[in-house]
Amino acid sequence: MPINGNADPGQLTQYAPTMASLDTEALTLPNVKVLQVIYEIDDAVMAELIPPALHPTIPPTMHVIGLRADDGPLGAFTLAIVRVGCRAAVRPRGLPTRAVCTQGEAATALVERWGFPITVGEPVLRERYDRQSIEVNDGNVTVLSAQLIDPVPIGNGDLLYTAGMHIANVERDGETKPWLVQVDPEFEVSRADRGTAQIDAFDSGYWDAPDLRPVYPIVASYTTANITLPRIRYICDPLQPAITGTVAL
């Protein structure tokens, strides 16, 4: 059978939030700019990046995602996320290792209601005619710089975004422990470009993914979309295969 992850869920929770409740109302963020840069990663550590519930994709992948909301219910904010591509049983998923958000109110909502592993920082999403980029600095050090180069328009329906599996400490049946929280946003895309993917800087230690190394670009996309963050419908025990460890709420 396919390779399972072997990361200790407890080791994946440095930035994982504690979710007091999973009873989250859906929320729509209008006209969000979304940059996604997908790379193949070094396969040597692919199993160490995800818990036993998940399988690495073949080949193993990472998603760098930059979002910018200029208005909407959470106000203006920019968010950078690094995820590891994976499978929960047969479903395509991405496991965020860490996310950085510019604005406290938005960060709090995303952490408490959807379990994003967010810290507050200064990610910058730049939109140019020849490229779009997401950059995150930690002091004077650039810990992430990823770009889409030479954008060309594609069909709004050509894109697929995979759902997230967010590791979070969840209280359930009187016990607080790590769970994988399935977050499957809906994207209503109004404009989409595709281009060459390029990662110029990536500090795996900062992103809480030791030894994660992007090695081969796949593609980058840049869209404008209304994103609806959903109600939480499923959680999964990170120690069990997703096919048996998934719980419907």
């Binding site: 080949p59 499978r87 796949i218 096919i243």
Partner: protein, 379 residues
């Protein structure tokens, strides 16, 4: 209705103790039994890098071994990847011709383009261009086979005039097929006068619609080759057992394992948005299949050929009524079913299911040659 067997050649981890050798030789043993009991054809995929799911990267070699160990069963490429980074078209034409000669004219030539980033990325091929290159291959390969010398200046490749040798044994050339996984590809097959080699596990209604579209469009086709191959094949699973519940239970393990493995791969559409791949294709279908099965106990989805002979006859008659000419069966995945049970299933199918269907014996080499020659002459 004709019946074939279809190989991905799935090899479970751990890859030690000669497991690939064992699996390959088990497959060959199954092919020998299939030949004895009267299956029409054996098909082998061309896949690369698809861990556990398919270790069948050199199907022309496997099919040659099949041909050398059998007498009647036809050998089918299901499919040759028509992308230059995988196969140069001249080499594809040459290898196919040699296989046709060595098999005494038993080759079925399937064409396609790969659907995973795992493979296309691994070969550094551009997913945007695979439809175009596939089209060029299907036009040029029959010309290489049937002209003493041939030259070409095109988009995917060019060649000064040369004699591409040898020529196929079947005249004018082997039947040509198109892998059909994405909806609409059956129209591509029909417009080019090629057989529709279905690779998804859809239900009856979906299949009937596809067949109707195919039959309608092929009437006005412009054949890519020198004759029209109007046939519709679909893929299915096979596990036949005297006891229906045992058959379904065991067969469900097969379908679940297969779908689970397929879902681990990266379909192009998931990571590389392009109009060239509007649907995940095979993988999405198998994913749905798998999602229905593991842990759900005994159940048999519509049309899946697992169970006892009576159930299989019933399901196959439904496929027949949809207009399907041939069903190609997957027999195993991850070695989920022990070899002796696979062989018993094949024999039971031959004894108790095949007799219910007319025209289930393989066409002989001479029949194929005569048919092709007749069609080529415009009769």
């Amino acid at each position: 209705m004709k019946f074939g067997i279809f190989y991905e050649i799935s090899v479970p981890r751990p890859w030690e103790n000669d497991i690939e050798h064992t699996v390959y030789h088990r497959c060959l043993e199954q092919v020998r039994v299939a030949d004895e009991v009267g299956f029409h054809s054996v098909w082998a995929v061309e896949h690369h890098f698809l861990e556990e799911y398919s270790h069948c990267s050199a199907p022309e070699l496997f099919l040659t071994a099949c041909a050398m160990q059998t007498k009647q069963i036809r050998v089918g490429h299901g499919i040759v990847v028509c992308v230059p980074q995988f196969n140069h078209p001249i080499r594809a034409a040459e290898r196919a011709a040699v296989l046709d000669i060595l098999s005494d004219g038993r080759l079925e030539f399937g064409t396609g383009r790969s659907a995973t980033w795992t493979e296309l990325g691994g070969m550094d091929a551009n997913p945007d261009e695979t439809k175009e290159t596939w089209d060029e291959y299907t036009r040029t390969i029959p010309q290489m086979w049937t002209n003493e010398r041939y030259g070409y200046e095109g988009r995917a490749f060019r060649m000064p005039t040369r004699a591409v040798l040898p020529k196929p044994y079947q005249k004018p050339h082997p039947p040509m097929w198109v892998a059909v996984s994405s909806p609409g590809t059956e129209i591509d097959a029909a417009e080019r006068g090629m057989g529709s080699l279905g690779l998804t596990f859809g239900g009856f209604a979906e299949q009937e619609e596809k067949v109707n579209r195919y039959r309608s469009r092929i009437q006005d086709c412009e054949p890519a080759g020198l004759f029209v191959n109007e046939r519709v094949a679909t893929v299915n699973f096979l596990y036949c057992h005297p006891d229906n519940e045992t058959g379904i239970e065991t067969g469900s393990r097969l379908t679940g394992s297969f779908g689970y493995l397929a879902a681990q791969l990266l379909p192009v559409r998931e990571v590389h948005p392009t109009r060239s791949y509007p649907n995940p294709g095979l993988l999405a279908a198998t994913r749905q299949q798998a999602a229905q099965n593991p842990g759900e106990g005994v159940s048999a989805p519509e049309g899946v050929c697992i169970g006892n002979p009576d159930r299989l006859v019933e399901e196959i008659k439904k496929w027949e009524s949809c207009g399907v000419d041939q069903i190609n069966f997957l027999l195993n995945a991850l070695e989920t079913i022990p070899q002796e049970q696979v062989l018993d299933s094949l024999r039971l199918f031959g004894e108790e299911v095949m007799p219910h269907f007319a025209d289930d014996k393989p066409a002989t080499t001479s029949e194929s040659r005569e048919l092709a020659a007749t069609v080529a002459a415009g009769d």
